[in-house]
Symmetry: C2
Subunit: 277 residues, 2 copies
């Protein structure tokens, strides 16, 4: 379990606010790993070993594990067990359902006695409102990371609709901040939306923002920091494909480390520039 002060302290210590996205696709990992009993877990293990001093968070996306059925779920459980305790462990599950069903999703990802996994944080979809969030907040110390403004083209379809309280994504942030404090609630804001960060900081001045979209999706780290960084950093920037698939050879873990190091160094500069460290 990682509290807000612990997260900030990790960021300062590691001079990094990097989250490594473990979107591990068995079709894309080096073929020599196929000889291991669980190639996906073996891949994740080596990625974690190679990057854990450079990042403050790991984020497996559940879809990549679900797509392999029972074997995939076993890989996810084994990966969760292997995640370093000093990192914020996020399950990117984007779940959302009514109360009694949300309780079941919370059990699935936050209750080790039920499924062998207890992530620190879960991504949640806001469409069904407060019902969908309460179940996770009932677990002491766990974080909800609510989708607000996502990085892909489809974000234009609904998130930018103008409502009586501003854009839909702004209304989501404002309302969700009445449901929990910034010690339990984060928001997903895509890196490809850097000009929106200044705007978002007006309504979410202290919340941590989980920022996907740097790397393969084309977002720019300097822009995100310029408009989104707070005195406590306030950002967790995720990179998945650009790190974990940096090489497809036997050197994949070293290549992942090199890529993570490059990002960490850029992050250190940004943290120094903003006076966080």
């Amino acid at each position: 379990m990682i509290s807000r002060p612990q997260l900030i302290s990790q960021i300062k210590q590691k001079k990094s606010f990097l989250c490594v996205g473990l979107d591990t696709d068995i079709e894309k990992i080096p073929s020599f790993l196929k000889e291991y009993p669980d190639p996906v877990f073996e891949f994740n293990k080596r990625i974690i070993d190679a990057t854990k001093d450079l990042c403050v968070s790991y984020k497996p996306n559940s879809a990549f594990y679900e797509s392999r059925g029972l074997k995939g779920w076993q890989s996810l459980i084994d990966t969760w067990k292997y995640l370093p305790v000093d990192c914020l462990n996020i399950i990117d599950a984007k779940r959302g359902d009514i109360g009694n069903t949300s309780d079941m999703y919370a059990k699935a990802f936050l209750d080790e006695s039920a499924t062998g996994m207890s992530f620190d944080a879960i991504t949640v979809s806001p469409y069904m409102g407060n019902d969908t969030v309460k179940s996770y907040l009932a677990y002491p110390g766990k974080w909800v990371i609510l989708l607000a403004l996502t990085s892909s083209a489809g974000s234009k379809d609904f998130q930018y609709l103008t409502t009586e309280h501003g854009f839909l994504y702004e209304t989501v942030i404002q309302k969700a901040n009445t449901w929990a404090g910034d010690d339990r609630m984060m928001f997903v804001v895509g890196a490809t939306k850097s000009t929106e960060f200044a705007n978002i900081r007006k309504i979410a001045p202290n919340n941590f923002l989980l920022v996907p979209g740097v790397g393969a999706q084309g977002g720019n780290l300097a822009d995100v920091c310029q408009y989104g960084m707070t005195k406590d950093c306030g950002l967790i920037v995720n990179a998945s494909r650009s790190i974990i698939y940096a090489s497809n050879g036997e050197d994949f873990a070293e290549a992942a480390r090199a890529e993570a190091l490059k990002i960490q160094q850029e992050m250190q500069m940004e943290l120094e520039k903003a006076g966080v460290i």
Copy 2:
């Protein structure tokens, strides 16, 4: 795989538009089932045997299976295999993510070669827009059932926001109907919102609507039919708890049948009244 004409024909033949929600909670099933190797599957099997001539659809909610980890996923796979081929088999998963991740969710629930399951239809959350829907539509003949107006209190938080195109849920329906035809796209509309059905029929005149909330959640079937039924019926009404937990004793399957029969008879009256049969 159930096409729109096949679904309509099933409804006319069975004089029913009932979907039985398999939200099977191991804590709530009769205790004598605990002696079976997989109590949840044993429960589902008996519920299916007792109701399959009275309903046109089954809908397991994935949360209830995920909450039991690997054992739960095995129950879901076994349940899928046991579902009757003449029923529309819906996985209520409410997934939603960007393109490459949505592909993985589609694989998880629609691709039997990957996970041992291939449901006819999947419920999807619209927040991330078109990206999240395309992956499922890429599977020929499969249905997307998009959340529009849900039955719980949290639906007030965002779904009723006024946008430039009407309420958010109306915008979702209008936009989604440009992504696929009514032979591939349905919408979730809660039974507790019966007065909204007339309104929804203006923008979704022919789409099938999946209607949860009759029974335990307090929705009224006659109201739903009055405002929502089309000449092809156009409704699939789900009941979960009121059917599957009708009794907690050894007679649970008979009690479930009696409850399903009661609903089917009410449905038959409504179908006759509307001239569908």
